[in-house]
Assembly symmetry: C2
Homo-oligomer: 308 residues x 2
Amino acid sequence: MAENWKSGINVAADRIAGRVVRTPVLTSTALMPGREVALKLEQMQHTGSFKARGAFNTMLGAPVPSAGLVAASGGNHGAAVAHAARALGHRAHIFVPEMAGPAKIALIRETGADLTVVPGEYANAMQMAQDYETRSGAMQVHAYDTPLTVAGQGTCLREWEDQGLQADTVLIAVGGGGLIAGALGWLGGARRVVAVEPETSCALNAAIAAGHPVDVEVSGVAANALGARRIGQICFDLARTHDVRSVLVEDTAILAAQRALWQAHRQLVEPAGATALAALLSGVYVPEPDERVAVLVCGGNVAPDPFP
Amino acid sequence: MAENWKSGINVAADRIAGRVVRTPVLTSTALMPGREVALKLEQMQHTGSFKARGAFNTMLGAPVPSAGLVAASGGNHGAAVAHAARALGHRAHIFVPEMAGPAKIALIRETGADLTVVPGEYANAMQMAQDYETRSGAMQVHAYDTPLTVAGQGTCLREWEDQGLQADTVLIAVGGGGLIAGALGWLGGARRVVAVEPETSCALNAAIAAGHPVDVEVSGVAANALGARRIGQICFDLARTHDVRSVLVEDTAILAAQRALWQAHRQLVEPAGATALAALLSGVYVPEPDERVAVLVCGGNVAPDPFP
Protein backbone atom coordinates (compact mmCIF):
# COMPACT_ATOMS: atom_id res chain seq x y z
CA MET A 1 0.00 0.00 0.00
CA ALA A 2 2.82 2.39 0.89
CA GLU A 3 4.40 1.67 -2.48
CA ASN A 4 1.08 2.31 -4.20
CA TRP A 5 0.87 5.76 -2.69
CA LYS A 6 4.47 6.57 -3.62
CA SER A 7 3.84 5.49 -7.14
CA GLY A 8 0.56 7.41 -7.36
CA ILE A 9 2.28 10.53 -6.10
CA ASN A 10 5.10 10.15 -8.61
CA VAL A 11 2.52 9.87 -11.39
CA ALA A 12 0.69 12.92 -10.02
CA ALA A 13 3.89 14.94 -9.89
CA ASP A 14 4.61 14.24 -13.55
CA ARG A 15 1.02 14.97 -14.48
CA ILE A 16 0.77 18.36 -12.80
CA ALA A 17 4.32 19.53 -13.51
CA GLY A 18 4.31 23.01 -15.00
CA ARG A 19 0.72 23.58 -13.89
CA VAL A 20 1.49 24.18 -10.24
CA VAL A 21 3.99 26.44 -8.53
CA ARG A 22 7.14 24.85 -7.17
CA THR A 23 6.71 26.71 -3.91
CA PRO A 24 9.73 28.06 -2.04
CA VAL A 25 11.20 26.72 1.17
CA LEU A 26 12.83 28.73 3.90
CA THR A 27 14.96 27.89 6.90
CA SER A 28 13.95 30.26 9.65
CA THR A 29 15.92 31.09 12.76
CA ALA A 30 13.66 34.01 13.57
CA LEU A 31 10.58 32.13 14.72
CA MET A 32 11.99 30.21 17.70
CA PRO A 33 15.04 31.27 19.71
CA GLY A 34 17.89 28.83 19.22
CA ARG A 35 16.06 26.56 16.81
CA GLU A 36 15.89 26.28 13.04
CA VAL A 37 12.45 25.73 11.59
CA ALA A 38 12.14 24.55 8.00
CA LEU A 39 9.13 26.06 6.24
CA LYS A 40 7.41 25.09 3.01
CA LEU A 41 5.58 28.15 1.74
CA GLU A 42 2.74 26.43 -0.04
CA GLN A 43 0.47 29.44 0.31
CA MET A 44 2.34 30.81 -2.73
CA GLN A 45 0.61 28.13 -4.79
CA HIS A 46 -1.95 29.12 -7.44
CA THR A 47 -5.12 30.35 -5.67
CA GLY A 48 -3.24 30.55 -2.39
CA SER A 49 -3.22 26.99 -1.07
CA PHE A 50 -1.99 23.44 -1.75
CA LYS A 51 -5.44 22.56 -3.11
CA ALA A 52 -4.39 23.28 -6.71
CA ARG A 53 -2.28 20.12 -6.65
CA GLY A 54 -5.17 17.77 -5.98
CA ALA A 55 -7.47 19.65 -8.32
CA PHE A 56 -5.13 19.38 -11.31
CA ASN A 57 -4.32 15.76 -10.53
CA THR A 58 -8.00 14.87 -10.40
CA MET A 59 -8.86 16.57 -13.68
CA LEU A 60 -5.83 15.19 -15.49
CA GLY A 61 -6.15 11.72 -13.98
CA ALA A 62 -9.69 10.89 -15.10
CA PRO A 63 -11.86 11.77 -18.09
CA VAL A 64 -13.82 14.97 -17.47
CA PRO A 65 -17.40 14.85 -18.81
CA SER A 66 -18.77 17.64 -20.97
CA ALA A 67 -20.90 18.71 -18.00
CA GLY A 68 -17.62 19.66 -16.38
CA LEU A 69 -16.73 19.63 -12.72
CA VAL A 70 -18.43 20.25 -9.43
CA ALA A 71 -16.91 20.83 -6.01
CA ALA A 72 -17.97 21.70 -2.51
CA SER A 73 -15.51 23.75 -0.58
CA GLY A 74 -14.84 25.92 2.43
CA GLY A 75 -13.24 28.19 -0.16
CA ASN A 76 -9.69 27.11 -0.93
CA HIS A 77 -10.59 23.87 -2.67
CA GLY A 78 -13.30 25.61 -4.67
CA ALA A 79 -10.90 28.29 -5.85
CA ALA A 80 -8.38 25.61 -6.83
CA VAL A 81 -10.96 23.58 -8.76
CA ALA A 82 -12.22 26.72 -10.50
CA HIS A 83 -8.66 27.71 -11.41
CA ALA A 84 -7.69 24.27 -12.70
CA ALA A 85 -10.93 23.95 -14.64
CA ARG A 86 -10.34 27.26 -16.37
CA ALA A 87 -6.71 26.35 -17.12
CA LEU A 88 -7.82 23.06 -18.69
CA GLY A 89 -10.86 24.44 -20.50
CA HIS A 90 -13.58 22.77 -18.40
CA ARG A 91 -16.79 24.13 -16.93
CA ALA A 92 -16.98 24.16 -13.15
CA HIS A 93 -19.72 24.72 -10.58
CA ILE A 94 -18.55 25.46 -7.05
CA PHE A 95 -20.70 25.25 -3.92
CA VAL A 96 -19.37 27.15 -0.93
CA PRO A 97 -20.84 27.68 2.51
CA GLU A 98 -21.41 31.25 3.64
CA MET A 99 -18.66 30.76 6.20
CA ALA A 100 -16.12 30.71 3.37
CA GLY A 101 -16.20 34.48 3.68
CA PRO A 102 -16.12 37.26 1.10
CA ALA A 103 -12.41 36.99 0.25
CA LYS A 104 -12.58 33.35 -0.81
CA ILE A 105 -15.94 33.79 -2.51
CA ALA A 106 -14.53 36.68 -4.56
CA LEU A 107 -11.51 34.55 -5.47
CA ILE A 108 -13.77 31.85 -6.93
CA ARG A 109 -15.96 34.37 -8.69
CA GLU A 110 -12.93 35.86 -10.47
CA THR A 111 -12.18 32.56 -12.19
CA GLY A 112 -15.48 32.67 -14.02
CA ALA A 113 -16.76 29.43 -12.48
CA ASP A 114 -20.44 29.08 -11.63
CA LEU A 115 -20.81 29.68 -7.93
CA THR A 116 -23.52 28.91 -5.42
CA VAL A 117 -23.20 30.24 -1.90
CA VAL A 118 -24.96 27.87 0.52
CA PRO A 119 -26.27 28.90 3.94
CA GLY A 120 -24.50 27.25 6.88
CA GLU A 121 -21.38 25.13 6.96
CA TYR A 122 -19.32 22.92 4.65
CA ALA A 123 -21.53 19.83 5.00
CA ASN A 124 -24.48 21.75 3.54
CA ALA A 125 -22.47 22.79 0.51
CA MET A 126 -21.33 19.19 0.08
CA GLN A 127 -24.94 18.00 0.04
CA MET A 128 -25.86 20.51 -2.66
CA ALA A 129 -22.80 19.60 -4.70
CA GLN A 130 -23.79 15.94 -4.58
CA ASP A 131 -27.28 16.78 -5.73
CA TYR A 132 -25.83 18.80 -8.61
CA GLU A 133 -23.50 15.95 -9.54
CA THR A 134 -26.43 13.54 -9.81
CA ARG A 135 -28.56 16.01 -11.74
CA SER A 136 -25.96 17.32 -14.19
CA GLY A 137 -23.53 14.48 -14.78
CA ALA A 138 -20.64 16.71 -13.76
CA MET A 139 -17.64 15.07 -12.14
CA GLN A 140 -17.22 15.68 -8.42
CA VAL A 141 -13.77 16.81 -7.33
CA HIS A 142 -13.67 15.81 -3.70
CA ALA A 143 -11.80 18.15 -1.39
CA TYR A 144 -9.86 15.49 0.47
CA ASP A 145 -11.08 11.90 0.39
CA THR A 146 -10.23 10.40 -2.99
CA PRO A 147 -6.98 8.79 -4.14
CA LEU A 148 -6.44 11.37 -6.91
CA THR A 149 -6.88 14.30 -4.53
CA VAL A 150 -4.65 12.73 -1.89
CA ALA A 151 -1.95 11.83 -4.41
CA GLY A 152 -2.03 15.39 -5.76
CA GLN A 153 -1.54 16.86 -2.31
CA GLY A 154 1.23 14.34 -1.68
CA THR A 155 3.31 16.00 -4.39
CA CYS A 156 3.88 18.83 -1.94
CA LEU A 157 5.97 16.62 0.32
CA ARG A 158 7.69 14.98 -2.63
CA GLU A 159 8.68 18.42 -3.88
CA TRP A 160 9.86 19.49 -0.43
CA GLU A 161 12.13 16.46 -0.16
CA ASP A 162 13.43 17.22 -3.64
CA GLN A 163 14.26 20.71 -2.35
CA GLY A 164 16.42 19.18 0.36
CA LEU A 165 14.10 18.96 3.35
CA GLN A 166 16.09 18.27 6.51
CA ALA A 167 13.64 17.27 9.21
CA ASP A 168 12.90 14.54 11.69
CA THR A 169 9.39 15.85 12.18
CA VAL A 170 6.90 17.59 9.91
CA LEU A 171 3.94 19.48 11.37
CA ILE A 172 0.87 19.69 9.17
CA ALA A 173 -2.52 21.28 9.76
CA VAL A 174 -5.53 19.00 9.29
CA GLY A 175 -9.01 19.80 8.07
CA GLY A 176 -10.51 16.93 6.09
CA GLY A 177 -7.06 15.35 5.95
CA GLY A 178 -6.14 15.41 2.26
CA LEU A 179 -2.81 17.14 2.72
CA ILE A 180 -1.62 15.06 5.66
CA ALA A 181 -2.82 11.90 3.94
CA GLY A 182 -0.73 12.80 0.90
CA ALA A 183 2.21 13.54 3.18
CA LEU A 184 1.86 10.18 4.93
CA GLY A 185 1.44 8.44 1.60
CA TRP A 186 4.67 9.92 0.37
CA LEU A 187 6.72 9.71 3.56
CA GLY A 188 5.45 6.40 4.87
CA GLY A 189 7.22 6.11 8.20
CA ALA A 190 10.32 7.96 7.02
CA ARG A 191 9.71 11.04 9.17
CA ARG A 192 7.47 11.73 12.14
CA VAL A 193 4.29 13.53 11.12
CA VAL A 194 2.38 15.64 13.64
CA ALA A 195 -1.26 16.40 12.86
CA VAL A 196 -2.29 19.82 14.12
CA GLU A 197 -5.95 20.80 14.47
CA PRO A 198 -7.76 23.70 16.10
CA GLU A 199 -9.46 22.68 19.35
CA THR A 200 -12.69 23.86 17.75
CA SER A 201 -12.32 21.82 14.50
CA CYS A 202 -10.71 18.50 15.32
CA ALA A 203 -12.18 15.74 13.19
CA LEU A 204 -8.99 13.65 13.15
CA ASN A 205 -8.40 13.93 16.87
CA ALA A 206 -11.97 12.89 17.58
CA ALA A 207 -11.73 9.98 15.14
CA ILE A 208 -8.56 8.69 16.74
CA ALA A 209 -10.23 8.86 20.16
CA ALA A 210 -13.33 7.05 18.90
CA GLY A 211 -11.43 4.51 16.83
CA HIS A 212 -13.27 5.53 13.67
CA PRO A 213 -14.34 8.74 11.89
CA VAL A 214 -17.09 10.57 13.75
CA ASP A 215 -18.95 13.82 13.21
CA VAL A 216 -17.70 16.86 15.12
CA GLU A 217 -18.90 20.42 15.53
CA VAL A 218 -16.72 23.02 13.79
CA SER A 219 -16.04 26.65 14.62
CA GLY A 220 -13.19 29.04 15.30
CA VAL A 221 -10.80 31.24 13.33
CA ALA A 222 -9.63 28.54 10.93
CA ALA A 223 -13.00 26.89 10.37
CA ASN A 224 -13.45 28.11 6.80
CA ALA A 225 -10.39 26.10 5.79
CA LEU A 226 -10.05 23.34 8.41
CA GLY A 227 -13.69 22.93 9.37
CA ALA A 228 -14.47 19.47 8.00
CA ARG A 229 -17.17 17.81 10.05
CA ARG A 230 -15.69 14.32 9.56
CA ILE A 231 -12.15 13.22 8.75
CA GLY A 232 -11.61 11.50 5.42
CA GLN A 233 -11.37 7.72 5.57
CA ILE A 234 -8.11 7.71 3.59
CA CYS A 235 -6.55 10.09 6.07
CA PHE A 236 -7.86 8.16 9.05
CA ASP A 237 -6.46 4.87 7.79
CA LEU A 238 -3.05 6.36 6.98
CA ALA A 239 -2.93 8.17 10.32
CA ARG A 240 -3.63 4.92 12.16
CA THR A 241 -1.11 2.95 10.09
CA HIS A 242 1.62 5.45 10.83
CA ASP A 243 0.59 6.16 14.42
CA VAL A 244 0.40 9.87 13.78
CA ARG A 245 0.61 12.16 16.79
CA SER A 246 -2.47 14.37 16.96
CA VAL A 247 -2.31 17.70 18.80
CA LEU A 248 -4.80 20.54 19.27
CA VAL A 249 -4.16 24.28 19.36
CA GLU A 250 -6.24 27.16 20.66
CA ASP A 251 -7.45 29.94 18.38
CA THR A 252 -5.29 32.42 20.28
CA ALA A 253 -2.21 30.32 19.45
CA ILE A 254 -3.19 30.26 15.79
CA LEU A 255 -3.51 34.03 15.71
CA ALA A 256 -0.16 34.42 17.47
CA ALA A 257 1.51 32.18 14.89
CA GLN A 258 -0.13 34.14 12.09
CA ARG A 259 1.35 37.32 13.53
CA ALA A 260 4.76 35.66 14.01
CA LEU A 261 4.99 34.71 10.34
CA TRP A 262 4.39 38.31 9.39
CA GLN A 263 6.83 39.70 11.91
CA ALA A 264 9.61 37.26 11.13
CA HIS A 265 9.28 36.95 7.35
CA ARG A 266 6.50 39.21 6.05
CA GLN A 267 4.33 36.25 5.20
CA LEU A 268 0.66 37.07 5.56
CA VAL A 269 -1.24 33.80 5.80
CA GLU A 270 -4.72 32.77 6.78
CA PRO A 271 -5.30 31.20 10.21
CA ALA A 272 -5.28 27.68 8.75
CA GLY A 273 -1.89 28.45 7.19
CA ALA A 274 -0.46 29.29 10.61
CA THR A 275 -2.08 26.40 12.50
CA ALA A 276 0.80 23.92 12.17
CA LEU A 277 3.29 26.54 13.32
CA ALA A 278 1.02 27.36 16.25
CA ALA A 279 1.65 23.92 17.76
CA LEU A 280 5.35 24.65 17.83
CA LEU A 281 5.26 28.26 19.00
CA SER A 282 2.67 27.65 21.70
CA GLY A 283 4.52 24.65 23.12
CA VAL A 284 1.74 22.19 22.37
CA TYR A 285 4.36 20.22 20.48
CA VAL A 286 7.78 20.38 22.14
CA PRO A 287 10.57 18.90 20.03
CA GLU A 288 13.65 17.30 21.56
CA PRO A 289 16.71 19.57 21.67
CA ASP A 290 18.29 17.98 18.61
CA GLU A 291 15.05 17.25 16.74
CA ARG A 292 14.87 18.97 13.35
CA VAL A 293 11.38 20.32 12.76
CA ALA A 294 9.55 21.42 9.64
CA VAL A 295 6.26 23.22 9.24
CA LEU A 296 4.04 23.18 6.20
CA VAL A 297 2.44 26.59 5.64
CA CYS A 298 -0.60 25.61 3.66
CA GLY A 299 -2.82 28.59 2.92
CA GLY A 300 -2.72 32.34 2.43
CA ASN A 301 -6.27 33.41 1.71
CA VAL A 302 -6.54 35.75 4.63
CA ALA A 303 -9.68 37.75 5.23
CA PRO A 304 -10.10 40.53 4.56
CA ASP A 305 -8.16 40.28 1.32
CA PRO A 306 -5.63 43.15 1.40
CA PHE A 307 -6.56 43.94 -2.22
CA PRO A 308 -10.34 43.54 -2.34
CA MET B 1 37.85 47.47 -9.44
CA ALA B 2 35.35 44.79 -10.45
CA GLU B 3 37.54 42.20 -8.74
CA ASN B 4 37.67 44.38 -5.61
CA TRP B 5 33.91 44.44 -5.37
CA LYS B 6 33.63 40.70 -5.90
CA SER B 7 36.19 40.09 -3.22
CA GLY B 8 34.52 42.53 -0.82
CA ILE B 9 31.19 40.84 -1.38
CA ASN B 10 32.69 37.42 -0.77
CA VAL B 11 34.15 38.67 2.50
CA ALA B 12 30.79 40.21 3.42
CA ALA B 13 28.95 36.98 2.69
CA ASP B 14 31.22 35.03 5.03
CA ARG B 15 30.95 37.72 7.67
CA ILE B 16 27.16 37.91 7.78
CA ALA B 17 26.48 34.20 7.21
CA GLY B 18 24.02 32.91 9.78
CA ARG B 19 22.97 36.43 10.74
CA VAL B 20 20.82 37.08 7.69
CA VAL B 21 18.06 35.04 6.09
CA ARG B 22 18.92 33.09 2.96
CA THR B 23 15.79 34.38 1.27
CA PRO B 24 13.78 32.14 -1.05
CA VAL B 25 13.57 32.37 -4.80
CA LEU B 26 10.57 31.57 -6.94
CA THR B 27 10.01 31.03 -10.64
CA SER B 28 6.64 32.53 -11.46
CA THR B 29 4.54 31.82 -14.51
CA ALA B 30 1.53 33.56 -12.98
CA LEU B 31 2.67 37.16 -13.28
CA MET B 32 3.07 37.48 -17.05
CA PRO B 33 1.27 35.33 -19.62
CA GLY B 34 3.70 33.09 -21.45
CA ARG B 35 6.79 34.24 -19.62
CA GLU B 36 8.71 32.96 -16.61
CA VAL B 37 9.81 35.59 -14.13
CA ALA B 38 12.46 34.69 -11.56
CA LEU B 39 11.86 36.37 -8.21
CA LYS B 40 14.16 36.84 -5.23
CA LEU B 41 11.96 37.34 -2.19
CA GLU B 42 14.26 39.52 -0.18
CA GLN B 43 11.38 41.07 1.75
CA MET B 44 11.53 37.91 3.89
CA GLN B 45 14.83 39.21 5.25
CA HIS B 46 15.09 40.23 8.92
CA THR B 47 13.19 43.51 9.41
CA GLY B 48 11.57 43.07 6.01
CA SER B 49 14.16 44.33 3.55
CA PHE B 50 17.63 43.70 2.15
CA LYS B 51 19.02 46.41 4.43
CA ALA B 52 19.99 43.91 7.13
CA ARG B 53 22.81 42.70 4.89
CA GLY B 54 24.58 46.05 4.72
CA ALA B 55 23.91 46.79 8.37
CA PHE B 56 25.52 43.56 9.61
CA ASN B 57 28.43 43.91 7.19
CA THR B 58 29.13 47.43 8.38
CA MET B 59 29.05 46.54 12.07
CA LEU B 60 31.13 43.40 11.61
CA GLY B 61 33.56 45.01 9.17
CA ALA B 62 34.75 47.90 11.33
CA PRO B 63 35.28 48.48 15.05
CA VAL B 64 32.13 49.81 16.69
CA PRO B 65 32.80 52.51 19.33
CA SER B 66 31.23 52.28 22.78
CA ALA B 67 28.93 55.15 21.77
CA GLY B 68 27.41 52.66 19.36
CA LEU B 69 25.81 53.33 16.03
CA VAL B 70 23.77 56.02 14.40
CA ALA B 71 21.73 55.89 11.23
CA ALA B 72 19.38 58.06 9.23
CA SER B 73 16.70 56.21 7.37
CA GLY B 74 13.43 56.35 5.53
CA GLY B 75 12.58 53.41 7.77
CA ASN B 76 13.92 50.14 6.37
CA HIS B 77 17.59 50.94 6.89
CA GLY B 78 16.89 52.21 10.40
CA ALA B 79 15.05 49.03 11.33
CA ALA B 80 17.91 46.94 9.93
CA VAL B 81 20.56 48.90 11.83
CA ALA B 82 18.52 48.69 15.03
CA HIS B 83 18.07 44.94 14.56
CA ALA B 84 21.73 44.28 13.79
CA ALA B 85 22.86 46.47 16.70
CA ARG B 86 20.67 44.55 19.11
CA ALA B 87 21.85 41.22 17.74
CA LEU B 88 25.49 42.26 18.19
CA GLY B 89 25.01 43.99 21.54
CA HIS B 90 25.56 47.59 20.43
CA ARG B 91 23.65 50.76 21.21
CA ALA B 92 21.92 52.43 18.29
CA HIS B 93 20.25 55.77 17.66
CA ILE B 94 18.04 55.99 14.61
CA PHE B 95 16.80 59.20 12.98
CA VAL B 96 13.78 58.80 10.73
CA PRO B 97 11.75 61.37 8.83
CA GLU B 98 8.05 61.58 9.59
CA MET B 99 7.38 60.24 6.10
CA ALA B 100 8.71 56.85 7.23
CA GLY B 101 5.21 56.28 8.50
CA PRO B 102 3.87 54.58 11.64
CA ALA B 103 4.53 50.97 10.55
CA LYS B 104 8.26 51.48 10.04
CA ILE B 105 8.58 53.71 13.07
CA ALA B 106 6.93 51.03 15.23
CA LEU B 107 9.27 48.43 13.77
CA ILE B 108 12.31 50.43 14.88
CA ARG B 109 10.82 51.15 18.27
CA GLU B 110 10.32 47.43 18.92
CA THR B 111 14.05 46.76 18.67
CA GLY B 112 14.73 48.96 21.67
CA ALA B 113 16.91 51.40 19.74
CA ASP B 114 16.82 55.10 20.55
CA LEU B 115 14.62 56.77 17.99
CA THR B 116 14.16 60.36 16.88
CA VAL B 117 11.40 61.19 14.42
CA VAL B 118 12.42 64.22 12.36
CA PRO B 119 9.96 66.52 10.58
CA GLY B 120 10.17 66.48 6.80
CA GLU B 121 12.06 64.14 4.50
CA TYR B 122 15.09 61.85 4.56
CA ALA B 123 17.67 64.60 4.05
CA ASN B 124 16.56 66.27 7.30
CA ALA B 125 17.01 63.04 9.24
CA MET B 126 20.44 62.62 7.66
CA GLN B 127 21.48 66.07 8.85
CA MET B 128 20.43 65.30 12.41
CA ALA B 129 22.19 61.95 12.31
CA GLN B 130 25.40 63.64 11.19
CA ASP B 131 25.13 66.13 14.03
CA TYR B 132 24.61 63.26 16.48
CA GLU B 133 27.60 61.40 15.06
CA THR B 134 29.87 64.40 15.63
CA ARG B 135 28.49 65.03 19.10
CA SER B 136 28.43 61.45 20.41
CA GLY B 137 31.26 59.66 18.70
CA ALA B 138 28.82 57.02 17.46
CA MET B 139 29.62 55.30 14.17
CA GLN B 140 27.43 56.28 11.24
CA VAL B 141 25.96 53.41 9.27
CA HIS B 142 25.22 54.96 5.91
CA ALA B 143 22.11 53.71 4.14
CA TYR B 144 23.69 53.28 0.73
CA ASP B 145 26.92 55.09 -0.08
CA THR B 146 29.79 53.30 1.66
CA PRO B 147 31.78 50.27 0.50
CA LEU B 148 30.71 48.15 3.49
CA THR B 149 27.02 48.88 2.95
CA VAL B 150 27.27 48.25 -0.79
CA ALA B 151 29.24 45.03 -0.33
CA GLY B 152 26.67 43.82 2.19
CA GLN B 153 23.81 44.45 -0.22
CA GLY B 154 25.81 42.75 -2.96
CA THR B 155 25.56 39.47 -1.04
CA CYS B 156 21.94 39.34 -2.14
CA LEU B 157 22.93 38.81 -5.78
CA ARG B 158 25.73 36.45 -4.82
CA GLU B 159 23.21 34.36 -2.90
CA TRP B 160 20.73 34.45 -5.78
CA GLU B 161 23.34 33.15 -8.21
CA ASP B 162 24.24 30.46 -5.69
CA GLN B 163 20.55 29.50 -5.72
CA GLY B 164 20.75 28.96 -9.46
CA LEU B 165 19.57 32.26 -10.92
CA GLN B 166 18.82 31.87 -14.62
CA ALA B 167 18.47 35.34 -16.09
CA ASP B 168 19.78 37.55 -18.82
CA THR B 169 18.35 40.62 -17.13
CA VAL B 170 17.79 41.59 -13.52
CA LEU B 171 15.42 44.41 -12.62
CA ILE B 172 16.18 46.25 -9.38
CA ALA B 173 14.46 49.19 -7.72
CA VAL B 174 16.66 52.16 -6.89
CA GLY B 175 16.45 54.63 -4.04
CA GLY B 176 19.89 55.78 -2.90
CA GLY B 177 21.41 52.99 -4.95
CA GLY B 178 23.00 50.68 -2.39
CA LEU B 179 21.29 47.52 -3.58
CA ILE B 180 21.87 48.05 -7.27
CA ALA B 181 25.45 49.11 -6.61
CA GLY B 182 26.01 45.84 -4.75
CA ALA B 183 24.37 43.97 -7.60
CA LEU B 184 26.58 45.67 -10.19
CA GLY B 185 29.62 45.10 -7.99
CA TRP B 186 28.88 41.39 -7.87
CA LEU B 187 27.68 40.88 -11.43
CA GLY B 188 30.05 43.22 -13.22
CA GLY B 189 28.82 43.02 -16.79
CA ALA B 190 27.74 39.38 -16.51
CA ARG B 191 24.01 40.14 -16.75
CA ARG B 192 22.04 43.17 -17.87
CA VAL B 193 20.84 45.24 -14.91
CA VAL B 194 17.82 47.51 -15.26
CA ALA B 195 17.44 50.29 -12.71
CA VAL B 196 13.81 51.01 -11.91
CA GLU B 197 12.74 54.21 -10.17
CA PRO B 198 9.40 55.87 -9.53
CA GLU B 199 8.85 58.88 -11.77
CA THR B 200 8.46 60.89 -8.58
CA SER B 201 11.74 59.70 -6.95
CA CYS B 202 14.36 59.28 -9.62
CA ALA B 203 17.76 60.33 -8.34
CA LEU B 204 19.70 57.91 -10.56
CA ASN B 205 17.80 58.79 -13.71
CA ALA B 206 18.38 62.49 -13.08
CA ALA B 207 22.05 61.91 -12.37
CA ILE B 208 22.53 59.98 -15.60
CA ALA B 209 20.84 62.78 -17.51
CA ALA B 210 22.98 65.43 -15.83
CA GLY B 211 26.22 63.46 -16.03
CA HIS B 212 26.69 63.64 -12.26
CA PRO B 213 24.58 63.21 -9.09
CA VAL B 214 22.08 66.03 -8.64
CA ASP B 215 19.40 66.80 -6.07
CA VAL B 216 15.84 65.80 -6.97
CA GLU B 217 12.46 66.29 -5.36
CA VAL B 218 10.95 63.11 -3.93
CA SER B 219 7.33 62.08 -3.47
CA GLY B 220 4.92 59.28 -4.34
CA VAL B 221 3.84 55.93 -2.96
CA ALA B 222 7.35 54.49 -2.61
CA ALA B 223 9.04 57.62 -1.31
CA ASN B 224 9.54 56.38 2.23
CA ALA B 225 11.83 53.64 0.88
CA LEU B 226 13.12 54.96 -2.45
CA GLY B 227 13.00 58.67 -1.77
CA ALA B 228 16.71 59.54 -1.68
CA ARG B 229 17.25 63.12 -2.76
CA ARG B 230 20.61 62.34 -4.44
CA ILE B 231 22.00 59.09 -5.78
CA GLY B 232 25.04 57.63 -4.04
CA GLN B 233 28.35 58.26 -5.75
CA ILE B 234 29.29 54.58 -5.62
CA CYS B 235 26.07 53.66 -7.37
CA PHE B 236 26.45 56.41 -9.93
CA ASP B 237 29.97 55.35 -10.83
CA LEU B 238 29.05 51.68 -11.13
CA ALA B 239 25.92 52.51 -13.15
CA ARG B 240 28.00 54.54 -15.59
CA THR B 241 30.73 51.89 -15.83
CA HIS B 242 28.17 49.21 -16.66
CA ASP B 243 25.95 51.42 -18.81
CA VAL B 244 22.89 50.55 -16.73
CA ARG B 245 19.52 51.05 -18.36
CA SER B 246 17.42 53.42 -16.25
CA VAL B 247 13.63 53.31 -16.49
CA LEU B 248 10.86 55.13 -14.65
CA VAL B 249 7.47 53.82 -13.53
CA GLU B 250 4.29 55.58 -12.51
CA ASP B 251 2.81 55.19 -9.03
CA THR B 252 -0.23 53.49 -10.53
CA ALA B 253 2.04 50.85 -12.08
CA ILE B 254 3.72 50.29 -8.72
CA LEU B 255 0.37 49.76 -7.03
CA ALA B 256 -0.73 47.38 -9.79
CA ALA B 257 2.46 45.32 -9.34
CA GLN B 258 1.93 45.27 -5.58
CA ARG B 259 -1.54 43.86 -6.17
CA ALA B 260 -0.23 41.35 -8.72
CA LEU B 261 2.26 39.89 -6.24
CA TRP B 262 -0.56 39.31 -3.80
CA GLN B 263 -2.90 37.83 -6.35
CA ALA B 264 -0.33 35.54 -7.95
CA HIS B 265 1.62 34.41 -4.88
CA ARG B 266 0.14 35.90 -1.70
CA GLN B 267 3.14 38.13 -1.22
CA LEU B 268 2.22 41.38 0.45
CA VAL B 269 5.02 43.86 -0.18
CA GLU B 270 5.47 47.59 0.19
CA PRO B 271 5.33 49.77 -2.93
CA ALA B 272 9.13 49.91 -3.15
CA GLY B 273 9.18 46.11 -3.10
CA ALA B 274 6.94 46.01 -6.16
CA THR B 275 8.66 48.80 -8.10
CA ALA B 276 11.05 46.61 -10.10
CA LEU B 277 8.22 44.29 -11.10
CA ALA B 278 6.15 47.32 -12.12
CA ALA B 279 8.57 48.07 -14.95
CA LEU B 280 7.92 44.62 -16.39
CA LEU B 281 4.16 44.42 -15.86
CA SER B 282 3.49 47.94 -17.12
CA GLY B 283 5.56 47.45 -20.27
CA VAL B 284 8.06 50.16 -19.40
CA TYR B 285 10.69 47.48 -19.83
CA VAL B 286 9.85 45.05 -22.62
CA PRO B 287 12.14 42.02 -22.77
CA GLU B 288 12.94 40.21 -26.01
CA PRO B 289 10.88 37.04 -26.57
CA ASP B 290 13.70 34.75 -25.43
CA GLU B 291 15.14 37.05 -22.77
CA ARG B 292 15.10 35.53 -19.29
CA VAL B 293 14.12 38.13 -16.73
CA ALA B 294 14.51 38.31 -12.97
CA VAL B 295 13.03 40.72 -10.46
CA LEU B 296 14.40 41.51 -7.04
CA VAL B 297 11.58 42.00 -4.53
CA CYS B 298 13.31 44.15 -1.97
CA GLY B 299 10.95 45.22 0.81
CA GLY B 300 7.82 44.15 2.60
CA ASN B 301 7.14 46.82 5.20
CA VAL B 302 3.74 47.74 3.90
CA ALA B 303 1.65 50.38 5.61
CA PRO B 304 -0.53 49.91 7.43
CA ASP B 305 1.15 46.93 9.07
CA PRO B 306 -1.43 44.11 9.01
CA PHE B 307 -0.53 43.36 12.64
CA PRO B 308 -0.15 46.76 14.29
